[in-house]
């Protein structure tokens, strides 16, 4: 804040004759200033006006063509888990080493044993997650069977920062348009603001808290997360984030996480020296105590992979209460004690709330029929 005020003073002193140097420095100032005041908006405007001066677009089309064709081989398409409801099974990533390390967003797409990575020329590889930093929404993958192959890559240590008004390009496999052996989609825009976002939960989870570049173009679409944001002349700026919607205004945010923030964890994961920062919430006791779990009754649910995984029973333990009442694997749990169950998570919560001495009544769907079962809640050993 101190920094920013300083800039403002210099503007005041100049009385309209604004020294360009001050404005050139402003981007670093705006980051600490956060998106709070009129002042920042004004700086945005100033920069917007200035960007034409900073980045004149003489012979621009030609150089943009060249920039894009040079960068596209560094961006890859990732195919993994998903494909249910509005969860896309595709994402984007970018090479961060010539040996085939890929940085991408930490998302449900990676909830698979192996993911498929398709290069801009159609070459296909499988890849595994080498390491992740969920708080930064970062995951690093390593291609399998790519020994001896060299890949074009972005050096995360060379990522730069840029201020409001900077002309940018976004590279991603949004909407999986580039499904074939073709390069990803490219969109253009301008950095509209640099600000800080906070982590959130809900339909559009975003674990990332920290500085972001906000872009005026539509960079963040389904499957775009993990793509790259660069300057028009191809310098690495950020990694495109997950889709974020403002629930109040129903508007969508287009933003990227500065690679500066990610460079050191990326290098640490690659070198195997990565130690995850402790999640401050990790040790907090759960607000809702879960006294019972499905296993207490002798059944297990399918892995909870997506936001609302249907509560299918995966397996039944022999000689358990569940086995005795005739539950079977592939039964879909619809009701727990008359409460509608829409997901594995909801089932865990409902069972967690049971108390010793209750009855557990389940309605399950088996093929085309509904089956009612009932079993006593066992006494819990303290």
């Amino acid at each position: 804040m101190q920094n920013a005020e300083c800039k403002v003073q210099s503007v005041e002193q100049s009385e309209g004759q604004i020294p360009l140097a001050v404005l050139f420095q402003a981007p670093t100032a705006s980051r600490s200033a956060r998106s709070r005041s009129v002042m920042q908006l004004a700086i945005c405007t100033l920069h917007f006006a200035l960007c034409t001066v900073l980045f004149p677009f003489s012979a621009h089309a030609q150089s943009t063509r060249d920039t894009i064709s040079a960068l596209q081989p560094k961006v890859v398409k990732i195919f993994g888990a998903g494909g249910i409801k509005s969860l896309a099974a595709h994402g984007t990533g970018f090479f961060v080493s010539k040996e085939g390390h890929i940085a991408t967003i930490w998302s449900h797409v990676l909830d698979a044993d192996l993911v498929t990575v398709v290069l801009s020329d159609g070459r296909r590889f499988t890849a595994r997650v080498l390491g992740a930093e969920p708080q930064l929404a970062l995951a690093v993958l390593k291609l399998n069977g790519a020994e001896g192959v060299e890949f074009p890559y972005f050096n995360p240590d060379e990522a730069i920062s840029a201020g409001t008004g900077t002309r940018v390009l976004g590279f991603s496999n949004m909407f999986n348009v580039a499904a074939g052996d073709e390069p990803v989609s490219v969109v253009h825009g301008v950095i509209a603001a640099k600000t800080v976002i906070e982590a959130r939960r809900g339909v559009f989870d975003s674990p990332y808290s920290g500085p972001v570049f906000v872009v005026d173009g539509v960079t963040n679409n389904s499957g775009a997360a993990g793509g790259v944001l660069t300057t028009r002349d191809g310098l690495l700026l950020g990694m495109i984030g997950l889709e974020l919607r403002n629930a109040k205004s129903n508007t969508w945010m287009n933003y990227a996480i500065p690679v500066n923030e990610l460079a050191s964890p990326i290098q640490q994961i690659i070198s195997g020296k990565f130690e995850r920062k402790k999640d401050p919430h990790e040790d907090e006791p759960s607000l809702k105590p879960r006294r019972y779990k499905p296993l207490d009754f002798g059944f297990l649910l399918v892995p909870d992979v997506v936001e609302r995984t249907p509560a299918f029973i995966d397996s039944i333990q022999g000689d358990s209460a569940a086995a005795k009442v005739g539950l079977r694997s592939d039964d879909l749990v619809l009701f727990v004690n008359d409460e509608l169950i829409q997901s594995c998570r909801a089932l865990h919560e409902a069972i967690g709330r049971l108390e010793s001495g209750d009855q557990l009544r389940l309605v399950v769907r088996r093929g085309n029929e509904l089956v009612n079962v009932e079993m006593p809640v066992p006494k819990k050993k303290e």
Binding site: A42, I43, V53, S58, Q72, G122, D181, V186, V187, N221
Partner: protein, 592 residues
């Protein structure tokens, strides 16, 4: 601290706004000359092309789209899904502020293209067609049209953005509308932009905007819009201008990608032309229409831009041996499927949009306009403007048969210059030598056709006899020759059905030729006319559907006592030459 900051904020805001204005002023001068130059260039391009942009309106102003003029007679391109349901007549606005009457000309339901004609002028402003294959990712483009139907004075809205992807494939949405080899842009495309032009930075027409990826953001621009490439539309242009309902091509074979990346035929229709030309299951596709085949998707992408019935070069590998063929392609749809009228229920290609918890559809169909239905659905309700009535003729299988009649008239003009054949109802006797040195005599009479060549004599009776492949292996040369007699004698009236098809590259490799298709019973004949001279270049005549045709190509026309006939006839079938006949003498008898 907070209080202080608040006070300071107000002060800063004011000062900065002032500073901001000053800076804007200084930056504008500082920005010269490149910025100013680029801006002026944009203004110039927009001023040049804006008069060609059309606002298409449904009757009563309920909905509409955009279009673009491509000929001074008023032919304009738009989307099929824009004209759907409008009936044969509609209203189109230009930026001169005038609302013109327009008539539907041709439709391409698969490619989502329609051609309309604005009426009342013969000096409409025209957009220059560009070469969409030259577009590269990152190139600047303009989208112009009437998004959200904002322009009540028909001044088009302009948006500016870059090419995000080229040669993209967008699978069928709902029914047929498949976008193959299309252009992806981040230029804003919104509802109402459908059918409007995508211009290159030089102001050349490179595409027709028609789709966007919308998903969960509602039906507004979300950074991915798609335009049908103008190069694809060029292939179909003459067919659309002929008032037809056109169809796209299919190979007649299915392909799959092998583990090594080769694209291999895994199923083939034995009635298809590619099968007759030697393509078999297990063969590897190497190239199609001159473009290398790298994957199944990419092959579908190339195939999708070509019209049904075109002959195209295909290279494949059969048991290790490389072969090049020219094969005629089948249609993607059954004829009745694309006919106006009650539509057969299309197979659901994608699940219905699911509702989210707010009850709103989770995924809206990705067309910036209403989904397609019968283009003539409301035709009956629309009163046809009296003065334009003659611009529309209804006929099954055509969007507007009036335009086919016009094209037939244009092509048949050249036949009139060949002499008076109408009165030549007697026998025609053509004789000479073949290139191989054999003497021949071809006799064309009303009741039969005969040929003597080398030591053989062949005869085809025309009454009470089924047409035969005579001489054997020629695909029915005698019947084909008889078709020529009918055409010269009576033109279109000599056949059960006759229509102008459009243009196609002659034999899949030559110049674009105008094509007339005639049928007589089961016999279908394609007639090829030179677009430069108007002369008949040859014909392909087949006795039955999916039979190997007899192909005759003419070289030169000679005058035989006041009537002109082809001088050299090269007769082939199934890629084998039967003979090349040089006509030295022709006697054409009048009424007996």
């Amino acid at each position: 601290m907070i209080g202080q900051r608040k006070v300071a904020k107000g002060k800063r805001g004011g000062v900065l706004c002032f500073g901001c204005l000053c800076l804007l002023a200084t930056s504008l001068t500082a920005a010269e000359p490149q910025v100013r130059e680029a801006e002026l260039k944009r203004v110039e391009v927009i001023e040049k092309v804006a008069p060609t942009v059309v606002a298409v309106f449904a009757k009563g102003g309920a909905g509409g789209g955009s279009g673009v003029l491509i000929s001074k007679e008023g032919f304009a391109l738009t989307n099929f899904h824009v004209v759907t349901g409008l009936g044969p007549f509609m209203k189109c606005g230009l930026n001169d502020g005038v609302l013109y009457d327009a008539v539907l000309v041709g439709i391409d339901p698969t490619g989502d293209v329609a051609l309309v004609k604005l009426l009342g002028r013969d000096d409409f402003p025209v957009a220059t067609l560009g070469d969409s294959d030259k577009l590269e990712i990152g190139d600047w483009t303009y989208v112009m049209g009437n998004p959200f139907l904002l322009a009540t004075d028909f001044q088009p809205t302009v948006t500016y953005g870059i090419v995000s992807g080229t040669h993209r494939y967008q699978p069928p949405a709902g029914t047929w509308l498949e976008y193959t080899d299309c252009i992806q842009v981040d230029t804003s495309i919104n509802p109402g932009n459908s059918g409007g032009p995508l211009f290159s930075s030089a102001g050349e027409l490179v595409g027709i905007n028609g789709r966007g990826s919308f998903e969960k953001r509602g039906r507004v621009n979300s950074g991915a819009g798609y335009a049908i490439s103008i190069n694809q539309i060029k292939f179909f242009h003459d067919q659309l201008k002929a008032g037809r309902v056109v169809d796209h091509a299919t190979l007649g074979a299915t392909v799959t990608t092998e583990a090594d990346g080769a694209v291999v035929v895994n199923g083939i229709l034995e009635t298809s032309d590619v099968y007759r030309r030697g393509l078999r299951s297990g063969d590897e596709l190497v190239s199609f229409a001159g473009r290398p085949v790298r994957s199944v998707n990419q092959f579908k992408n190339i195939l999708g831009i070509y019209p049904k019935d075109w002959m195209l070069p295909i290279v494949f590998r059969h048991e290790g041996e490389r072969r090049e063929i020219h094969a005629r392609l089948r249609g993607l749809h059954a004829k009745t499927e694309l006919m106006p009228g009650p539509r057969p229920q299309p197979k659901p290609r994608q699940p219905m949009p699911k509702k989210d918890k707010d009850g709103k559809p989770e995924k809206t169909p990705d067309l910036p306009q209403a989904p397609p239905s019968d283009p003539h659905a409301e035709a009956k309700k629309t009163a046809i403007p009296e003065q334009w009535k003659n611009w529309f003729v209804a006929k099954p299988g055509f969007a507007n048969y009036r335009f086919n009649q016009l094209e037939q008239d244009r092509v048949f003009v050249s036949l009139k210059g060949l002499g008076d054949f109408a009165s030549a109802t007697g026998s025609w006797r053509l004789s000479g030598q073949s290139m191989a040195g054999d003497k021949f005599e071809l006799t064309l009479a009303a009741k039969g056709v005969g040929l003597e060549i080398r030591d053989g004599a062949f005869f085809q009776q025309l009454e009470d006899t089924d047409p035969a492949d005579e001489p054997q292996g020629t695909g029915g040369f005698l019947i084909a020759a008889h078709q020529l007699r009918l055409l010269l004698q009576a033109g279109a009236k000599g056949f059960t059905e006759c229509h102008y098809f459009g243009s196609e590259p002659l034999d899949g490799r030559g110049e674009l030729a105008d094509v007339i298709v005639t049928t007589l019973g089961a016999i279908e004949t394609r007639w090829f006319f030179s677009r430069a001279s108007g002369l008949l270049l040859g014909l392909d005549s087949r006795l039955l559907e999916d039979a190997e045709p007899c192909q005759i190509r003419f070289d030169g026309w000679n005058d035989f006592s006041g009537r002109r006939l082809p001088a050299t006839w090269r007769v082939t079938s199934a890629d084998k030459e039967f003979a090349t006949l040089k006509v030295e003498k022709a006697e054409v008898a009048g009424k007996k």
